[in-house]
Amino acid sequence: MNRDAEKTIRDNLEARKGSGHELDGFTRIEAKVSSKPRAVFSLRIGADELEEIEAAAGAGGQNIGEFIREAALLRARLVTDKRSVIADFSSAYFTTRSALAHLAEVANLAGLPLVQEPDQKAVVRGPFTGSGVINHDLPVQDHRRRRGRT
């Protein structure tokens, strides 16, 4: 079906939109639906790019469809995994930070030598985040002052 035919059908259907008669004339039928539906789409690409892909796919014993699907999924999963790693890291960071805060609080109460200087910073480097500086704002008291008071 070409685009003009599709447009005609579409226009006819949309003329009924919101009329309360959208399903007039329709009768129920049964359909066998795949448990694992597929999606089919066309891809606009330069002829020279397609030749390059075709050659690479052929070299690996794949057809173009398999090759593009595999390459695109690899790329998509890299992005998804990257998000997942960042989320895991973030979660671990806040859990650790919370645990350290608790530990520091207990240590300070007990007068143990566990101190964090107020201007102390942790430098975080990761394969995906590059580098960055995270300011700690742990509720740590200076035990030396506490000791001095006791």
Partner: protein
């Protein structure tokens, strides 16, 4: 409603990502590919209208945003692959699903 018979097979959908393609058109009705896939996954009703020239089909079901949608697919040359040409959230669809006991 007429008697039911196994009439069509749906193995998937065809998508056209060009500016005047079905993806952009459906987006204009606030219907995304994921919504259409959800309708299919949630067990939709299929209906057909016969005219002198051709049959028109409609898929009626719920999407993952709790909406009742009408999705109109047309057959493609590839067996079992249907191209949704338009669709929208519909009160008529909601009533049909309600009457069919498809809404909780």
């Amino acid at each position: 409603m007429l008697g039911e018979q196994r009439e069509i097979e749906v193995e998937g959908f065809a998508w056209d990502f060009e500016p005047d393609g079905n993806v952009a058109h459906l987006a204009g009705h606030d219907v995304r590919i994921a919504d259409v896939n959800a309708v299919l996954a949630f067990g939709p009703m299929f209906l057909r209208s016969l005219s002198e020239h051709a049959a028109t089909y409609v898929m009626v079901g719920r999407d993952n945003r709790n909406r009742s949608l009408l999705i109109y697919p047309v057959a493609t040359p590839e067996h079992g692959i249907w191209k949704p040409v338009t669709g929208w959230q519909s009160g008529d669809a909601h009533r049909l699903l309600q009457e069919g006991g498809r809404l909780s």
